[in-house]
């Protein structure tokens, strides 16, 4: 058993509400102790001691929304390449979306993902399964069997279930298995031709807009159904001030609901689209600055529980097109932490809350053994220089696709080392 001592680090562990200078001791695969008192007994005999002065140790991040091209679009991303990108970004656990080809709506597909991840991935990969067969919004998948096989959540990926009856039954049935329904809310009719936030900016560009109500209408429906069915519901990627108010009301009513957002919705706004920059075509679309500010405030006060990358690799063939013809989506695993740290450096959100939204909160919501530095936990942790400035360059991107919203961006805070179960999977 090889013991490693990370000494003099700023330890941020939201699972224990801890942010202090101290020591993390691992036995090679698990955490023995982490905190200011961890070294009270002195370093164990023969331990490797690493001085981490000026650095921080955080639980490995848990990214609850990652699209991968395997199976079906391996030229965009494989489970292996996504895991390399994750490791570089300090993400040690990813929840993989089921909208692959074929769709992950069957036990065999869940097993395929877990097997492929075991053999090729350097981080933990947790598959989410489809709510309905083939993502067609009609027949429910086998929640029980899929959960037993290892599916950690049920989601339609990028899609929204239009039929309220289907949604109600899914929520009701999921309750019996304690499963979480993880749902994107965008009214397919109201957003039909829309490609960016509705408003003056879109109108001048001649682009058709997606109103905020397209997100709110299905969200309010889902929140009503979650109250009615007393089920676990997670709104996956919200983007507006109005949505945050709706979530706050539902939580006040005691509904078992949580809210997530892509870091892009808290870092960027509609003006970043500029002159038709297709890498900024996202779902949900980048909104107005007022919405971004409301999202940041919601993150601070906890209305917004979880931050995700919404990592969505797209190739030249789907992005190098006129704006309205391009696919939405951007990669984000490698910039998730640094982009989120902007909110810490600006003084908008405390570090502990940011790290919570990126690790402990999603782990807790989806029942993963991750997102904590508590003794006995698997040693998934990252060593971070919170201050180090860096510039995002396409050539450094590990992901197979290069469609980042942060090309050329100056970020502050860099992952120096990523450990999964005590094994180093990334070192800067």
């Amino acid at each position: 058993m090889s013991v490693t001592v990370f000494h003099n680090a700023r330890i941020v562990d939201p699972s224990r509400n801890l942010d202090e200078i101290g020591t993390v001791i691992t036995d090679g695969t698990a955490i023995i102790a982490a905190g200011s008192a961890a070294l009270n007994q002195g370093a164990p005999e023969g331990a490797t001691v690493i001085d981490c002065s000026g650095k921080a140790i955080l639980p490995g991040l848990v990214d609850a929304r990652v699209h991968i091209g395997e199976p079906g679009a391996e030229h965009r991303e494989t489970i292996a390449s996504a895991s390399q990108a994750a490791a570089a970004g300090g993400v040690t656990s990813i929840i993989m979306m089921p909208d692959t080809d074929p769709v992950i709506d069957d036990v065999a597909l869940v097993e395929f993902v877990l097997r492929t991840a075991r053999d090729t991935a350097v981080v933990n990969v947790f598959p989410a399964a489809a709510i309905t067969c083939g993502l067609e919004g009609k027949e429910m998948t086998e929640f029980g069997l899929l959960r037993e096989a290892g599916a950690v959540a049920f989601t339609e990926g990028r899609k929204t279930i239009a039929n309220s009856q289907t949604m109600r039954r899914a929520l009701t049935y999921a309750r019996d298995f304690g499963a979480v329904i993880d749902h994107v809310t965008q009214d397919p009719h109201l957003s039909a031709t829309g490609v960016m936030n509705e408003g003056l900016f879109a109108s001048w560009l001649g682009l058709s807009g997606i109103p905020r109500e397209a997100e709110l209408i299905p969200l309010e429906r889902d929140l009503l159904l979650a109250r009615l069915t007393r089920s676990n519901y997670h709104a996956a990627t919200l983007s507006t001030a109005m949505s945050m108010q709706a979530i706050a009301r539902a939580k006040a009513d005691g509904a078992k609901v949580t809210a997530g957002a892509s870091i892009a919705s808290l870092s960027l706004n509609e003006n970043d689209v500029g002159e038709y920059r297709t890498f900024f075509r996202l779902t949900p679309p980048l909104r107005a600055e007022e919405d971004r500010l409301a999202m940041v405030e919601a993150l601070r006060d906890g209305t917004l529980d979880i931050l995700v990358s919404s990592h969505d690799p797209q190739d030249v063939d789907t992005k190098r097109l006129p704006f309205a013809d391009a696919e939405p989506g951007a990669i984000g695993l490698e910039t998730l932490l640094s982009a989120a740290l902007r909110l810490y450096h600006n003084g908008d959100v405390p570090l502990l809350r940011i790290v919570d939204a990126l690790s402990s909160a999603p782990a807790k919501r989806f029942g993963l053994s991750a997102g904590t530095l508590a003794p006995g936990a698997r040693a998934d942790l990252i060593l971070v220089d919170l201050e180090e400035p860096w510039v995002v360059h396409e050539r450094d991107i590990r992901s197979r696709s290069k469609n980042t919203c942060f090309e050329g961006a100056r970020l502050q805070g860099k992952v120096l080392q990523t450990l999964v179960a005590g094994r180093t999977v990334h070192q800067a």
């Binding site: 003056l200 560009l205 001649g206 682009l207 038709y276 190098r320 006129p322």
Partner: protein, 321 residues
């Protein structure tokens, strides 16, 4: 008699939209177009200013009049003009706009004219090719030569643009012609109104430097120019307006509604017209209509734009690459 001064150099490499042009740029193009009108009215219509230059018309949307206008403009300037017809090209085989652009670029054209159904297509093309690019309409974004020809038509008929009241009527939501005209007319100091049912107005229209009206009576009151827009056939039945007859009743231009405009107000339409939908035949063919003048000015404006972009002084200065 003083020696005529050479025209100032047009400071842009492409014409992707009216946005970004100064009033001086616009006036310069209109002045050049005035000269081109004179050339087009001679029996000898051919000049040599673009001799040896290659012009490619890349039209992704069917367009008889705009493509013909650009083709004729190029030919009158002496350029070699090639039309890329989408129906018979590799576009149908799934080649992307960029790949087509790169292929055409390798043939070393001097100027590319592009029309595309998607907003931003012309700007995307301009990033990838080495020659001048003219936007002949990109989705609902801009159609700069249309706005220029409209301005030229108004300026020649009424002697000025500043201070005039121009009512743009109809499907503003989907109209690139409306967007380019709103920008140009405001730049030259006109008062711009839009008149349309609210389902055909874009979000944020009140912040687009226009006065918004929902009835023709109020919108046309005292207007110097009435500019009608085409209503696409697929938008007529139910989706945006309930029916053709209801649309014509409330927003179609007929003699009764035109009475509210200033006496002798100009009636314009970018074509092709839907007679009996947005405009009554008696008005389209009537004494106030300048619709045929618009077509003539179209050729002149396109000659002016291409000459300005391919100004030989630019090549000598070395910035044409």
């Amino acid at each position: 008699m003083t020696k005529p001064q050479p025209l100032p150099l047009f400071p842009h490499r492409h014409l992707l939209g009216i946005k970004g042009l100064s009033p001086i740029d616009i006036e310069l193009l209109l002045d050049r177009a005035d000269d081109a009108v004179a050339i087009s009215r001679q029996s000898e219509k051919k000049t040599t200013s673009l001799r040896g230059r290659t012009q490619i018309n890349l039209f992704y949307e069917a367009s008889t009049r705009t493509q013909a206008s650009f083709e004729l403009a190029g030919k009158r300037l002496g350029a070699d003009v090639m039309n890329m017809s989408v129906a018979s090209s590799s576009v149908k085989k799934g080649e992307t706009l960029i790949d087509t652009a790169m292929t055409l670029n390798a043939m070393r054209p001097d100027i590319l004219i592009i029309r595309h159904a998607s907003a931003g297509a012309a700007a995307l093309l301009a990033q990838k090719v080495d020659c001048a690019v003219v936007n002949a309409g990109d989705g609902a974004h801009e159609h700069p030569t249309q706005a220029l020809l409209d301005a030229l038509t108004i300026r020649r008929a009424l002697g000025r643009i500043g201070g005039l009241t121009v009512a743009i009527c109809g499907d503003v939501l989907h109209s690139r012609v409306a967007r380019s005209n709103i920008i140009l007319l405001n730049a030259l100091g006109a008062r711009v109104r839009v008149v349309a049912p609210s389902t055909l107005l874009p979000s944020g229209i009140r912040d687009m430097s226009v006065e918004v009206y929902n009835t023709m009576k109020e919108g046309l009151e005292g207007a110097d120019v009435v500019m009608m827009l085409r209503l696409q056939r697929e938008r007529m039945a139910g989706a945006f307006v309930p029916s053709v007859r209801e649309y014509f009743r409330y927003w179609g231009l007929d003699a009764e509604k035109l009475k509210h405009a200033k006496e002798g107000a100009l009636v314009m339409h970018p074509g092709p017209m839907n007679r009996g939908v947005e405009i009554a035949s008696e008005i389209a063919d009537g004494p106030q209509s300048v619709i045929q003048d618009q077509v003539e000015m179209g050729v002149a404006v396109r000659m002016a734009v291409m000459e300005a972009l391919l100004d030989p002084r630019r090549t000598e200065a070395g910035d044409a690459a």
